[in-house]
């Protein structure tokens, strides 16, 4: 198992946002994480990315404990994420946002730049091309020079994915990546996620759009009130009585 989540508990005051959550994510899988609002999905991504510290439990990446690491060290281990409430660098344009995401991959040393060495320019062109390739991957390369604040909602979500891809991560945590998108955008992001997985990237995907999740994911974990109801293949999960109850209960 690439990623093992073992007995994770996280409380906020009296609320048990996560209550003994355990499941594993296989390498190369598109693993869905679903559940009603307030189930604890975002909190779990925060714990996985080092933003929130669990009260109990362990997270293992290829057997190594990572749950006490700060976010920047988790990122350095190859875990990238997006945010449910999109967090772009609004003062930068699109390609600059992606360049900022190259922090771990691009050296951009100060000295060659101070000395005006040609190698610095060559390096810069190479990294810019890479950043453009990330934008192209999510389909917004034509917006490269546009400030992030000018983008449409769907474009912002894609730019955030492009910025995460700049880390060249092993694991990508996506928190509602197609929320608020139209059908065409949803299909494109779905295609992108599938192609990333084909290349060996592992994806943990939170999404409310059930059709999207069912079609895309090889395994799905269902959370409700901070607890795992079940983990399994989409067909099994869809038939699970407690899942049906949780969803009907939430929608009623």
């Amino acid at each position: 198992m690439l990623l093992e989540i073992v007995g994770i508990t996280k409380t906020f005051g009296g609320i048990r946002a996560l209550d003994g959550v355990s499941f594993s994510v296989e390498k190369g899988a598109i693993h869905g994480l679903i559940g009603p609002n307030g189930a604890g999905k975002t909190t779990l991504i925060n714990v996985l990315s080092g933003t929130a510290k669990p009260m109990e439990g362990r997270i293992l990446l290829e057997g190594a404990l990572i749950h006490s690491l700060p976010p920047y060290k988790v990122a350095a281990l190859g875990i990238a994420r997006t945010f449910q409430n999109i967090r772009l660098f609004a003062g930068m344009n699109c390609v600059e946002n992606v360049i900022a995401g190259q922090h771990l991959k691009a050296k951009r040393q100060l000295l060659p730049r101070l000395l005006h060495l040609p190698s610095a320019n060559r390096e810069e062109r190479e990294y810019r091309d890479k950043a453009m390739a990330c934008l192209k991957r999510v389909g917004i390369e034509h917006r490269a020079a546009i400030p992030a604040g000018y983008l449409s909602y769907g474009e912002r979500r894609r730019l955030e994915i492009a910025r995460a891809l700049a880390l060249e991560p092993r694991i990508l945590l996506l928190d509602e990546p197609v929320a608020g998108m139209r059908r065409r955008g949803i299909e494109q992001v779905g295609g992108l996620i599938r192609s990333l997985a084909t290349q060996g990237m592992t994806i943990l995907l939170i999404e409310h759009n059930m059709k999207f999740v069912m079609e895309l994911c090889s395994r799905i974990t269902v959370l409700n009130f901070g607890r795992v109801i079940t983990t399994g293949a989409p067909s099994e999960v869809g038939r699970h009585p407690q899942v049906i109850e949780a969803y009907l209960g939430a929608e009623a």
Partner: protein
Amino acid sequence: MAFLMHFFAVYGNLVNFIGINALMALGLYVTLSAGQLSLGNAAFAGIGGYTAGILTMQFHAPYILSITSGAMLSGIVAVLIGLPVLRLRGVFLAMATLSFGEVVRIAAVNLTITGGAQGLVGIPNKTTTGLIFTVLALTGYFMAKLRQSRIGWSFESIREDEAAAASLGVNTTFYKTVAFTIGAIISGLAGGMYAHLNFIISPGEFGFSAAVQLLIYNIVGGTRIWYGPLLGATLLTALPEVLRGIGVTAGPIRMCVNGIILLLVILFLPNGLISLLSRSSSIAGPRP
């Protein structure tokens, strides 16, 4: 040429102070460019100024050694207080750096080696206009190149969104400390050069109002690019002279004009006067 010589005879000192203030403002700019609001940069200038002055007067150290030692000591102090203090955010960080500034000022008032409340008197005049503007130009060049480096990109990411920056692998604590320290070194250097320009330095010059003045230079000029604070410092340092030229001499009126300019900029040009000069979003900021 005759005109230039006349100009310098009359305004030479003003030109020097513009350069020094611009350099001090640049010191704060570095810290601000990483999103950290510091009110401690006047105190760093004080540490640099006192250190350099004492080395020159009591230990007869060569000028360049004195001012670089002052800058280095400022930098060392910044690392030491930066690590605990930079965990704080926004107003709390401002308060903590402000308290640090007060501690430095009170120390300067009470120590013998700093000359107490009277300050250091009789510091030899060794800072030349040429040196001031050479240092300023080199610092500006350094800023421009820093912005393109990994360090500069980290500062920018942290300023835009610290949590997002951390998720990209930016060690935010480290880079905030780097920003604070580079800022302190520049302010400390400016302080040492100021001490060797002004003949006398006293604790009050590096207190709260000086800290705020540095912030005002940055806000008025703009903090999205390194020459913003240069513009702010130049205009606001020259302003009293210009006002005197048109017959306004009273202190309170000058303070009012200062305040009005600050208010107008905050209200209508949130990214500073520099945003008038450029339409590029990286300088003028996002326009929603």
